[in-house]
Amino acid sequence: MPKVTIDDIEIEVPDGTTILQAARMIGGEVVPPAMCYHSKLKTSGGYCRTCIVKVEKGSEKDPRPMPKPVPSCRTTVMDGMVVRNKTAPDIVEARAGIVEFLLINHPLDCPVCDQAGECDLQDLAYEHGKSHSRYDFQRRTFEKIDIGEHIKLHMTRCILCYRCVKTAEQITDGRVHGVIYRGDAAEISTYIQNVIDNDFSGNVIDVCPVGALTDRTFRFKSRVWFTKPVDAHRDCPKCSGQVRLWEKGGEVLRVTARKDKYGEVESFICNECRYDKKNASDWVIEGPSKVDRHSVIGANHYENSVLSATDDRQQTGLPHGKKVELGEGALNPNNIY
């Protein structure tokens, strides 16, 4: 079993483990942020470049450093490898650059975006970005389109992580959407206004790290931080039936897959569970979900007072020493970059 050292912490991992997975085994601050990698999807990762790290020593056998930063999500650990993430100032700076690239054409319309509060890009920008943008040109925009009765595609917000494409490819029969055009004109599309229609189509919403694919049945119903997530299950003939219900005032506003602490889906769910079972009585309730968001308020803490904000941050493993502005702003995701 190869041993790898990440930010001065050594760990032994199974053969074939990637640097990102090894870092997640260590946990805490050594874990690089990942926007396009998704553990349940094969061949995901490598696109966004937020997870880049520096390999100071390639391996015991070949100790040469790697000439360029590598995507930790797609780089396999070698025995004796020495990796730097947070402890390499050039990586921290390079990552801030990636964040800036991801944001220059992003609309920053968090106040009207359903994803706000559970958006990976929001979290990323907050933790790894800088406080202002140097981009002063017009941002690229696209028309919003409805791809079927359940899904809204808001391409302007997309960061081209390819997760939805891989989800459709890997868990549904016959994908009808993909990336068309090239460069910064590239867009996710069904090409000739097709409808994404199959039993598992709703999963593309859950894997989208931003608000590009949203649930039309939940659209503008509530800010997510005013809803309360509970884990529930039912006997479903099609999928695992293990879901997360998002309740407000006893009403189920939305059903999603459960996500782990990295925002990645634990198991994909079918459309029946997602759209047709919106009564609490359809479900066996397990209890409040543990939602481990980095920057945004954790589950069931929504009504917490301003004063506990710093505690939350410590619990959720936020970088220490980062200045926390107390006051409404710190708790309101709409104010985050």
Binding site: G46, Y47, K68, N105, G183
Partner: protein, 447 residues
């Protein structure tokens, strides 16, 4: 007269036809390879020759071939990269247009050495008239028994196909090329695995440039050692240079590696000096992606040595004071050239050609183009120059494929060596006489 190995017979009338090519000694390398040599012997000759990839990166060809995985019962492929789209590079077109059988001969001998029974030439879509020439040459080769089953009665089979690209620079990147060849969107693959292990349809594949494959012919005919005797140091053999820009004699030249740059620019045998009696200002020596060098640094290295046309000499001084031989696209600029506008043109190209998979290249190339457009329209500020520098540094080395670098390097080099010119543009735009009309900036398609 320096030695020519590829373009030796280029002026013989009808050399593009099979009969004339054969009369000039064509296909002898295939005869020798298939009848007198083993695959390993050919590989050894290629290694001995010191041949390095002519597509841009200069990777030793013998070493690349020896990396090819050879699992039992799995087909292997040779793919010729004829996508040639780097601005300033047009040598492969010249070779395929004038002497197509040289490439085919090289393909057969190389495929035999690699144990491939199927080979492809992936050719740039815009080279439409070359498609016919090449297709015709392939037909002639089949008709004369050089392709197909049981070639020369040796039991070796080879099928050669030409595939036409749809006009994307990125499809010259070898893994994007393979995707495109498989009929998919031309996105570069994330490596590893490398093509030598999992290439075309997941099978072991070698991708080589047109010129690299053509060079295998003289290597087999004359022997690797004789090939290695030409050139200097690790830059062996001859190289095709596409010379363009403000010179008296633009065109494709075959040079022995090691030729002094000064001689190449000023000798009548090659570029014939700067046109209209103007002064040399700068050179982009290896295709638009390599760092531009000002006159002082292209003629002599920082140490004052004469700069030579070789991988090592052009690379001397790293990117601080050196550049790269790249694909041999030699672009010469005279004293009237605006480095800033030229850079804008390059940046526009790389922005347009980005595949869009990875964020630094997708977003950064367009941003750099916009800033450059702002500067050449006379609306730039000093901080824009620093911003440009910072953006390129955040693209370089952080992308999936080297297109990111290809976009970043020209920006870095132009600012590194010509910062004053950028400053002049932003501080005294009114002094830049042709700012408003030269490129009719305002009429350019919206960025």
């Amino acid at each position: 007269m320096s030695k020519k190995l590829l373009l030796q017979h280029i002026d013989v009338p009808g050399i593009n036809t099979y009969e004339v090519y054969r009369k000039q000694g064509g296909y002898k390398a295939v005869e020798k390879a298939l009848k007198e040599m083993t695959a390993d012997q050919i590989l050894e000759e290629v290694k001995t020759s010191g041949l390095r990839g002519r597509g841009g990166a200069g990777f030793p060809t013998g070493m690349k071939w020896s990396f090819l995985a050879k699992p039992e019962g799995v087909a292997r492929y040779l793919v010729c990269n004829a996508d040639e789209s780097e601005p300033g590079t047009f040598k492969d077109r010249y070779l395929m247009e004038k002497i197509p059988h040289l490439l085919i001969e090289g393909m057969i001998a190389s495929s035999f050495a690699l144990g491939a029974n199927t080979a492809y030439i992936y050719i740039r879509g815009e080279y439409f008239y070359v498609h016919r020439i090449l297709e015709n040459a392939i037909k002639e080769a089949y008709a004369n028994g050089w392709l197909g089953k049981n070639i020369l009665g040796t039991g070796y089979d080879l099928d050669l196909y030409m595939q036409i690209g749809a006009g994307a620079y990125i499809c010259g990147e070898e893994t994007a090329l393979l995707e495109s060849l498989e009929g998919k969107r031309g996105n570069p693959r994330i490596k590893p695995p490398f093509p030598a292990v999992a290439g075309l349809w997941g099978r072991p594949t070698v991708v080589n440039n047109v010129e690299t494959i053509a060079a295998v012919v003289p290597i087999i005919n004359e022997g690797g050692a004789n090939y290695a005797n030409i050139g200097v140091g690790k830059s062996t053999g001859t190289k095709l240079i596409s010379a363009s820009g403000h010179i008296n004699k633009p065109g494709v030249y075959e040079i022995e590696l090691g030729l002094p740059v000064e001689e190449f620019i000023y000798s009548d045998q090659y570029c014939g000096g700067i046109r209209n009696g103007k002064e040399l200002k700068a050179v982009v020596a290896g295709g638009s992606s390599v760092p531009i060098l000002p006159k002082e640094l292209i003629l002599k290295t920082a140490a004052g040595e004469p700069r030579l046309m070789s991988y090592e000499s052009l690379g001397d001084g790293g990117f601080q004071t050196g550049t790269m031989l790249g694909s041999g696209g030699f672009i010469v600029m005279d004293e009237d050239t605006s480095i800033v506008k030229n850079l804008y043109t390059f940046s526009r190209f790389y922005h347009h050609e980005s595949c869009g998979q990875c964020s630094p290249c997708r977003e950064g190339t367009g941003w750099m183009e916009k800033i450059l457009k702002k500067i050449i329209s006379g609306n730039g500020t000093l901080s824009d120059v620093d911003l440009l520098w910072d953006i390129q540094s955040k693209i370089e080395g952080k992308t999936i494929c080297p297109l990111g670098e290809a976009a970043a390097w020209p920006v870095a080099a132009a600012i590194r060596h010509f910062r004053k010119e950028f400053e002049e543009y932003v501080t005294n735009p009114q002094n830049i006489v042709d700012v408003k009309h030269y490129y009719r900036v305002n009429n350019l398609a919206a960025v």
